[in-house]
Amino acid sequence: MGNTSSMLTQYDIEDVENHCSQRFTQREIVSLYQRFCALDRSGKGYISGDEFMSVPEFAVNPLSQRLLGILEGLNFKEFVAVLSAFSPLATINDKLDFIFRVYDIRNNGKVSSEDMIRVLRDLSGDFLTDKQRQAVVTQALEESGYSKDYSLTPEDFLKVLSNGGLKMDVEVPID
């Protein structure tokens, strides 16, 4: 895909911009499109899991599999919409929604302690035993005043994570 910017029209850029609620500027969207086409080597219109994993820095990330679940097979519009949580213009709610989405794989609107244990497993690998993980999660829930079997809702996420501020910004390079 050599001359990618000629394939984007103004209509398309604005469409994508509206879809991501103006979190990315038009130049950033053009940049993202070039990146999308570079990653989508076979021109299918979406990026497969393999293609994501061929980026070494992504493959090394603990949560790469979960992110693959969210990101793979998306067309460009959806791709930008999902990544808009990382824009500096995104609100804290956007970011929290994204984090919630990473936790809540079963998509039932709640993050149970099981979900938390699973994410902890991704982050810590084999260096924590199951018991330790269970203990950590139970401890964390109890310390914050929730019961052991409580399932967190997005509002709880907001309460817990909003006081320190959430630093989850990524800059899109514009050439």
Partner: protein, 549 residues
């Protein structure tokens, strides 16, 4: 009557050609205008939603991943399968359909990681759970992740040298260096004991930001991107000129070059074979003649693509204990350098006619072959290298420490193997000018034959070669630092950028050890927090009990 016939035929031909030309011009102009029909060119990226989302388990079962990506390809599936079955010739159309590369990579992954037959609904947290803990890297302090890579992560990652089956496995000293860097990076971070534990657990923002920045831009992919040139010929007056150019290149220049090449080969083989087999007694004379012949055939090759090559700096001299290193863009690097001095090169053994050449002609020069995919190979090759360098009669050794072809805008990490041979290292910088053709050989996209054909049907290959000052290992410098220093010199002179990634990551996933170390750190910090709480709790209960009793 025949005259009238001929004229009529010519007139017909001219009319047809004009019509053809006109249609082509119009088509091109239409393409150039890009009528803003809403979503026409964009539909494939806005409406195609990819494979059904229920197929989430393909990354759990690496063996079938390649097949599934093939299946998703649609109409080119059969041709892709055919290509997969063929062993090496990967002649891929210019739109870069890489089904072969993908399925080969998937197959290799299938070998490297045994298929984990886990329960499908459980989304992959157990099996692929060796992950880097980036959680603690950037806690505290304003850390905004640019689309460029995290420079601190660079320092950590640059020391890892690929997976176990690669030629240059990370040695103990490298892992130590990696660990030191890791410690430096993590020294000022880590969740504090009195932080809200739930917040620490739920706050995935550093990890996620790293992943997102890798998705948005990463320097590794940029190293291997072949930038296809912007078309300049879509204009009514430029297009005919371009057509004339194409006719000249394909119709006139190419046959001449091909003939030249064939004549050159005939002369070469005609002289080389007798010399190789008949003059067994006078070794020195034979070697000298063979060297001269190889230099000759390389000059023929260079002439066959009209190579305009400028050599700067003093020509290499033959001495013992001397090794040459250069940055690598394509296999023609070797030909370009060989034209001036007969080097003995170490490179990957290729299949096909290139392999045949390697085993017959080039071996007489003292060239050494390795196989990237064999791990035991490494010891044998290292021994051969040492032996070669110590022999004063052997040809100067040329090594490409990057280990893979890079697109001549960047250099990837130099492997330290070339720098531990206890010799002077003479750097050579090569920079190709893309004005007529891009000399970068993307080995996943085209075979060497196609690459050569592309070069031979272009106007010229323009390049600069700089022979730089020989360097030796400074006291107190490790071979990795030495390699970096030489890489700095080469990148500076050739005007290309440096990237701290290992080129072998093109073929292999990053080593699991890297992520395991970080997971360990994270786990330790969690355990520490738990212990702290336990101890404070027991302290308070102890005090309370003590107070009561």
């Amino acid at each position: 009557m025949s005259g009238v016939d001929v004229r009529a035929q010519i007139a017909d031909a001219v009319v047809v050609a004009t019509q053809l030309g006109a249609t082509l011009v119009l088509l091109n102009m239409k393409k150039a205008q890009k009528e803003p029909i809403r979503g026409e060119n964009f539909r494939h990226v806005t409406e195609n939603l990819g494979p059904p989302r229920t197929a989430t388990c393909h990354s759990l079962d690496p063996g079938s991943a390649g097949v599934r990506t093939l299946a998703a390809g649609g109409e080119s599936r059969l041709s892709s399968l055919a290509r997969v079955l063929r062993s090496h010739a990967q002649i891929v159309p210019c739109d870069g359909r890489k089904k072969v590369g993908q399925s080969r990579r998937a197959a290799r992954r299938g070998e490297a990681r045994p298929a984990e037959g886990a329960a499908r609904p459980e989304r992959r947290s157990m099996e692929e759970s060796k992950r880097a803990d980036v959680y603690s890297v950037s806690k505290g302090g304003e850390k905004k992740y640019r689309g460029m890579r995290n420079p601190r992560l660079d320092n950590v990652l640059e020391r890892v040298q690929g997976r176990d089956s690669s030629l240059f496995k990370p040695s103990a000293s490298e892992i130590n260096m990696y660990q030191r860097h890791l410690d430096e990076v993590l020294a000022d971070s880590g969740p504090k004991a009195d932080d809200d534990l739930l917040r620490n657990l739920l706050d995935l923002s550093p990890t996620l930001s790293e992943a997102a920045s890798a998705i948005i831009d990463d320097s590794f992919t940029r190293c291997f991107k072949s930038n296809s040139p912007e078309p300049w010929n879509w204009n009514i007056y430029l297009f005919p000129l371009w057509v004339v150019g194409v006719i000249m290149r394909y119709g006139i220049l190419f046959p001449i070059r091909l003939v030249l090449l064939i004549i050159g080969w005939v002369i070469f083989l005609g002289l080389f074979i007798p010399i190789h087999f008949c003059i067994k007694k006078h070794e020195k004379l034979r070697q000298k003649l063979e060297r001269g012949l190889v230099e000759f055939i390389c000059s023929v090759f260079v002439a066959s693509w009209t190579g305009v090559i400028k050599y700067h700096g003093p020509r290499p001299s033959r001495r013992a204990k001397q090794v040459f290193v250069a940055n690598h863009t394509s296999m023609i690097d070797f030909i370009v350098l060989e034209q001036m001095t007969a080097f003995a090169v170490i490179m990957q053994k290729h299949p096909g006619w290139v392999g045949l050449l390697q085993t017959t002609v080039l071996e007489s020069l003292g060239c050494i072959w390795f196989n990237r995919t064999e791990s035991k190979d490494r010891m044998i090759v290292a021994k051969k290298l040492k032996h070669h360098v110590e022999d004063p009669d052997s040809n100067p050794l040329l090594i490409f420490p990057e280990g893979t072809c890079v697109n001549n805008e960047y250099t990837v990490m130099f492997k330290k193997g070339a720098f531990e041979l206890d010799c002077t290292v003479c750097p050579i910088a090569i920079k190709y000018n893309k004005i007529f053709v891009d000399a970068f050989w993307n080995s996943k996209k085209q075979s060497f034959t196609m690459h050569l054909l592309r070069l031979m049907t272009s106007w010229a290959v323009v390049c600069d070669v700089w022979y730089l000052e020989p360097q030796t290992l400074r006291p107190g410098e490790t071979s990795i630092e030495f390699a970096e220093r030489v890489r700095d010199m080469i990148a500076d002179r050739a005007g290309i950028k440096k990237v701290p990634w290992d080129g072998y990551l093109k073929y292999y996933r990053p080593s699991v050890k890297l992520t395991e170390k970080k997971q360990q750190k994270f786990a330790e910090s969690i355990v520490r927090q738990l212990d702290d709480r336990k101890s404070t709790r027991s302290l308070t209960t102890g005090l309370r009990d003590g107070g009561l009793s």
